[in-house]
Point group: C3
């Protein structure tokens, strides 16, 4: 970082109430993981250990320690919850999260047949014990496509009412389900309806693993949008998008056309 | 890893006879490479140094040492064999592999015009000296597409008869040739014919560099399928797919519909 | 690297006049960045710190130090120049580059409405102070598509006349703009016209972030083409392409058909 006088959007310091960045760890090697945290941990609010990777990651406790030391909150992916739920081991899931030192947990129904009413019941049950991040949207692209905007909004509100601190709008690691179509396109109408629903968007985190998704959401919701499933090597890239330091968000082109001589 | 009582498929310990994972090194930097091996080396059976990268990798001997220390077998890509073959230096190729401490070598005809009969002759020649991994399928997508399933099966059998320990079914690093179509789709009919050919699939390793390929092959062949060209950062991800710890293989959806209350 | 007698194209030692490789740093973590430089720094001529990442990278000075120690030239992306220009802070931009120890700067108009005449004026102004890398092509794919080959050639010549050491032909980090179409296809006709324009192609660096682009440009311009926006994990891969050690450039297939027995 170099000091300069160019005018940029102001970012809140951690712990932030908005402009949150959640990085997904899909199983990064240990030293590389620590490297990311030590290189630019101030830009990261949450690390999600993707799906149930924590059950096969040999040195997971080292990873959680490096996060604690650097003031980054972590939680395990909703698939861990779902796996224990369908195995009828939900109490064991909560004990595992406590033992791992997790203060936050994700409760979701992305891969299993669990109604939102049932999901909300689990949110309510664990809301006193943990900070709850819940998720709306399904892993299966066709199942997600059949979920209309008014149901998304209803489910988000239901989760917040049940005590979720944040609600994740699903896009998977690939950006090909949930708020995205199977071909990777964003469901723009869905984003519009959510943005205009009256729900406080500071309580929603949009999964946005690709630059295209990040750009659209920042254009629509502003530089303080909460964005998740960010790949570890894109943290600096996302921060430059937030601050208008990359071509895609650099400036309003129309305004420039008036200000600069154009002969091109 | 956290202890738990959720029921998962049992994985054999190394050295394994099935459920093999082969990671491709396309030229990773040294410390990162060591980091992968030390973070989750028990999940890796083979590292292939892709194509002829070993000829331009400055510290290749450090990489092979870290593999030996961690009980991971390595070999150089088939393109190294092919380059030396077309340069009329095949004896020098064998000496280079010995000097590098390779106990396994790959013999292939993916990029050159070499008949399978000729390839099998080379397998037979070197089978006493090295463990042989051979490869069927071509790098050129159109040439591969013209190879019908019965020829694939014939070539796989010929290679095994000649003394290959394992036969690789080609997909390249990109998943866009060999068992895949140029657009990345898996040749499902080809996989079916191979699976039903009577060949012991524990002797075949399918290149599966994308999650989509991994999921299809695990669904079709079971969690103990041998999968290769796995990217270094996907080792944990693949292991979770094998164990049913990721959405794509989490569970049988129909069964869940019966077990859980559904109002969605 | 292993000694061998296979005949390969000869590569010049650094500092090279052609066959240049420019790696883009889109915000890599610190230790990983150093790892790349120490693992294969002799293969890297330039590192570009992408767009204006230098303004949000906490330990940017450590990165520039490790480059200096390893004889690698660096510069900040053209978007940094453009951001300061539209903020009317161009003098501050130059001071920032000097303070950072940059001997090379990039001057571009990829994201803002600045004519090539104006860009050339800036090149001329700073050519005494810095080595100038300029860029032709726009970030916006549609704006780039509307720029015909004769204008590309005119702009490249104008930049060289104004004092640029090298002119970059834009493709972005994604390979989806500039010399590429929005779908990622290379504008082959454009490359042909540039190659036959009489401009010294040793003075042009083509952005080629994907293997497909690298292969096409090496086939067309030879192993000594200057290629940029190379991802850090593809440096070894590119070097093998240059040397004919990967399937895509291994050999001339027709020639092989004559030399080797073919029964396939």
């Amino acid at each position: 970082m170099y000091p300069h006088t160019v005018s940029l959007p102001v970012r809140e310091a951690k712990p932030r109430g908005r402009g949150l960045t959640m990085v997904i760890d899909p199983g990064l090697p240990d030293a590389y993981f620590a490297d990311i945290v030590e290189s630019y941990g101030d830009l990261i609010d949450f690390v999600k250990f993707g799906w149930a990777t924590c059950l096969v990651t040999p040195h997971i406790a080292e990873k959680t320690r490096v996060l604690r030391r650097n003031g980054i909150e972590f939680y395990f992916g909703g698939t861990l919850f779902e796996k224990f739920l369908v195995s009828d081991r939900i109490g064991e899931w909560a004990r595992l999260c406590h033992r791992a030192g997790a203060r936050t947990v994700e409760i979701s129904n992305g891969a299993i047949a669990l109604s939102n009413d049932e999901k909300a019941r689990h949110i309510r049950r664990f809301a006193g014990e943990f900070e709850i991040v819940s998720e709306v949207g399904f892993k299966d692209p066709e199942r997600s496509e059949r979920l209309p905007p008014n149901r998304w909004i209803e489910f988000i509100e239901q989760d917040l009412d049940a005590g979720a601190r944040l609600v994740i709008a699903e896009a998977r690691e690939s950006g090909r389900s949930g708020i995205c179509r199977p071909n990777g396109d964003l469901r723009i109408g869905l984003i519009e309806e959510i943005a205009e629903s009256g729900i406080d968007t500071n309580r929603i985190m949009f999964e946005a693993p690709t630059k295209e998704l990040q750009v659209h959401l920042l254009h629509r919701l502003g530089p303080q949008a909460n964005l998740g499933n960010i790949h570890a090597d894109s943290v600096i890239g996302l921060e430059t998008l937030r601050l208008g330091l990359r071509a895609d968000t650099l400036t309003d082109f129309t305004r420039l056309d008036r200000e600069l001589p154009t002969h091109a």
